[in-house]
C-alpha cells in the first residue's frame, strides 16, 4: 500500500490550514473524505437526483437502485447474511437509540439488567439510561483493568441471572482497546443474552465479519469510515429486526394505513421512516469501494505500525503519560501531559497544524474512573504517516516549551 498516493486522494491535504500543512490526527472523531466520495455527492445532485422508493419515473428508479446497491455493498463489507439486515440511520447514535428504544419496548421488563462497560461512549450509555427511567431497568458496568481493557473474565463476572443485554464497544475511542466480541458473544448467547456492539471505531479499523462475530446488533458510523456525515448503519440479525417494533413512524415504513389500523412494511423499510440521507447513502458506496481497494488487511497493518511508532515516540517523551496499555489495540493514542491541561495542549498543537481532540471524548465515566477531567487524543486513519506522529511529538515539545517545561 502506497501511503503517498492514498493521501493524494484526499483533497483536504492540498489545503493550507492556517498556513500549515495539515497533520490530521482526529479521525476517531471523524475521518477526512476521499475525492471519490465528494465527487459522488456532487454528481448525484447534479445529474441523478431524485427521492428513492416512491415514484415510478426514471430518476426515482435509478436512485432507488443506487441506494440499494450501497446496502448490498455494506452487507458484503461486513459479511452479513442478508441484505435486509442492513438499516440506514442518521448515525451510530441513532442506530444505538433505535436498538435500546425498541428492545426496551418489546423485550425488557422492570428489574432486567443491561451490562455495558466503563469504556462506553455516551451514545452507548444514555439510550440505556432512558430505559432506566422509563422501564426501571438496571445498568451494570464492566470495569476496566490496569491496562484499561475489558476482559472476557470481567464480563463474565458481571453477568447475573437478570442480565438481558450486553452492549459494548468494539474498539475504545479513548484507549484503542479492542474487546473480544466474538468470545463475549459466545458466552452471552450461551446464557440467552442479546449482544449489541457499538462498532463506531471497529468499522474503520478492523476487518468485520458479522457471521463470525455473531453479535445481534452492530452500529456503524459512516462519517468515521471516509464517508459522508448524517449517515450510520445498523446491522441487526433478521430475527431481531423482524421481531422489534418500528422506531419512528412516517412515510416509507408502512404497509397499509387506515383510520383504525396501520400495518408496517417489511425489512428494512420498517426502520427507514421518512426521506433518508439519499445522497450520503449513495456516496457511501464509494467509501466502501475505497476501503476495499486498499484492502482492510492493509489498513490494519498500516495503522498498527503507526500506533506502535507513536506509542514508542510518546513513551520516550518525558511528562507525556499514555492512557492505557491494552494488549490488543488500534487506531487511538490518548495521553496527558503533566502540568498542562489538554485544552491548552490542543490549542498549542493546532497552531502547528496538528489537529487532535481534547476533552473527555464523550467518555465521562472513563475519565472519572481515571480521575482526570480530560485527556488529549491523537487518532489515525489510512492517510497518516510516521511523519505525522513526528510532527505530533515536536508540537508537544513546543507546547512544553511555552509552558516553560524541559
Amino acid at each position: 500500500m502506497n501511503i503517498d498516493t492514498i493521501k493524494k486522494e484526499f483533497p483536504i491535504f492540498d489545503e493550507k490550514i492556517q498556513n500549515n500543512d495539515l497533520v490530521y490526527l482526529d479521525s476517531a472523531n471523524s475521518s477526512q473524505k476521499p475525492k471519490v466520495v465528494i465527487d459522488r455527492i456532487n454528481e448525484f445532485y447534479t445529474k441523478e437526483f431524485s427521492n428513492v422508493g416512491r415514484s415510478v419515473h426514471y430518476l426515482a428508479v435509478a436512485a432507488t437502485n443506487l441506494y440499494e446497491n450501497t446496502r448490498a455493498s455494506v452487507q458484503k463489507f461486513i459479511n452479513a447474511k442478508d441484505k435486509n439486515e442492513i438499516v440506514f440511520t442518521k448515525g451510530a447514535t441513532e442506530a444505538l437509540n433505535l436498538v435500546a428504544n425498541t428492545l426496551g419496548q418489546n423485550y425488557l421488563q422492570e428489574g432486567d439488567e443491561v451490562l455495558i462497560t466503563e469504556l462506553e461512549h455516551h451514545s452507548n450509555y444514555v439510550p440505556w439510561h432512558f430505559l432506566r427511567k422509563s422501564k426501571k431497568i438496571k445498568i451494570n458496568f464492566a470495569e476496566i483493568n490496569d491496562d484499561i481493557e475489558i476482559t472476557l473474565e470481567e464480563i463474565e463476572k458481571k453477568i447475573t441471572s437478570r442480565t438481558k443485554i450486553i452492549s459494548i464497544t468494539h474498539l475504545s475511542n479513548v484507549t484503542g482497546a479492542i474487546l473480544p466480541i466474538k468470545e463475549i458473544t459466545e458466552l452471552a448467547h450461551s446464557k440467552g443474552i442479546v449482544v449489541v456492539v457499538d462498532g463506531c471505531q471497529g468499522a474503520p479499523h478492523l476487518k468485520l465479519d458479522m457471521q463470525d462475530l455473531d453479535c445481534d446488533f452492530y452500529a456503524i458510523s459512516c462519517h468515521k469510515m471516509y464517508g459522508p456525515t448524517g449517515l450510520g448503519v445498523l446491522y441487526g440479525k433478521k430475527k431481531w429486526l423482524e421481531e422489534l417494533p418500528p422506531y419512528q413512524g412516517g412515510g416509507g415504513m408502512i404497509n397499509e394505513v387506515k383510520k383504525d389500523r396501520i400495518s408496517y412494511g417489511n425489512l428494512p423499510n420498517k426502520f427507514e421512516a421518512g426521506t433518508m440521507a439519499t445522497a450520503q447513502v449513495i456516496a457511501f458506496d464509494q467509501s466502501i469501494k475505497f476501503l476495499e481497494r486498499i484492502g482492510i488487511d492493509n489498513v490494519v497493518k498500516h495503522e498498527a505500525d503507526l500506533i506502535e511508532y507513536g506509542q514508542e515516540l510518546l513513551q520516550k517523551n518525558n511528562s507525556v503519560k499514555l492512557i492505557g496499555n491494552p494488549k490488543n489495540k488500534g487506531g487511538v493514542l490518548s495521553f496527558t501531559i503533566e502540568g498542562i491541561h489538554p485544552h491548552d495542549v490542543a490549542t498549542i498543537l493546532d497552531e502547528d497544524g496538528v489537529a487532535i481532540r481534547a476533552g473527555h471524548h464523550c467518555c465521562q465515566i472513563l475519565h472519572d474512573k481515571l480521575n482526570i477531567p480530560a485527556s488529549s487524543r491523537a487518532s489515525v486513519g489510512v492517510y497518516n504517516t510516521r511523519n505525522d506522529l513526528d510532527k505530533l511529538n515536536e508540537a508537544i515539545n513546543n507546547c512544553k516549551k511555552i509552558f516553560n517545561q524541559k
Binding site: 491541561h341 489538554p342 491548552d344 490549542t347 476533552g359 477531567p373 480530560a374 511555552i402
Partner: protein, 156 residues
C-alpha cells in the same frame, strides 16, 4: 493568531499558582459553573459584608491554564469592591472579551486593567473564550443568588 499573546507569563503563572483557590470561610453567596464541552467545573464563593462589599472571594475547580488564570485574576480584582462595582467590572470584562478593544470601567485602576487585558489574547481563539468567561458568569450568578448552575453552552 499568536500563542505568545494567549499564553503570557502572567497567565501561565496564575494558571500554575492560582490565587484565592479554596473555599472562603463563612461565605454567604456561592454558585457553580460547568462547561460540558470540556468538563471543566468552577465553584465561586463570596463573603459580602453589611455594606455589600466583597470582603472575601475564592473559587474551587479545575481547568485549563486560561480558565484557572481567569478565575484567579478575577478573584484578585473583585476583592474589596462592592456588589454593584463587581457586576459592572464583570460586564466590562465580558464586553472586552466579546468585542470591545479595551476596558472602560471606572471601577478598575490602570494597573488592574493592564492585568486583566492579559486575557484579551483569548479573543482570537473562539473555542477558548468560554474557558476565560465561565468563572465571571458564575460570579454574577453567585451575586444574584440565582441558585442555577451556569452552563457555558447555554450562554451566548
Amino acid at each position: 493568531m499568536n500563542l505568545k499573546e494567549l499564553y503570557q507569563e502572567i497567565i501561565l503563572e496564575h494558571g500554575k499558582n492560582p490565587r484565592n483557590l479554596g473555599k472562603t470561610d463563612n461565605f454567604n453567596k456561592d454558585a457553580k459553573g460547568h462547561n460540558p464541552l470540556c468538563g471543566d467545573n468552577v465553584h465561586v464563593y463570596l463573603k459580602l459584608n453589611g455594606q455589600k462589599i466583597v470582603e472575601d472571594i475564592s473559587f474551587e475547580g479545575s481547568g485549563c491554564a486560561i480558565s484557572m488564570a481567569s478565575a484567579s485574576i478575577m478573584t484578585d480584582l473583585i476583592k474589596g469592591k462592592n456588589e454593584h462595582e463587581a457586576k459592572e467590572i464583570v460586564e466590562d470584562f465580558l464586553g472586552m472579551i466579546k468585542e470591545n478593544p479595551k476596558l472602560n470601567s471606572e471601577n478598575l485602576k490602570e494597573d488592574e486593567k493592564t492585568k486583566l487585558m492579559c486575557l484579551s489574547g483569548v479573543k482570537q481563539y473562539p473555542m477558548r473564550v468560554k474557558c476565560a468567561t465561565l468563572s465571571w458568569h458564575t460570579l454574577i450568578s453567585a451575586i444574584d443568588n440565582t441558585q442555577e448552575e451556569i452552563n457555558s453552552e447555554k450562554l451566548d
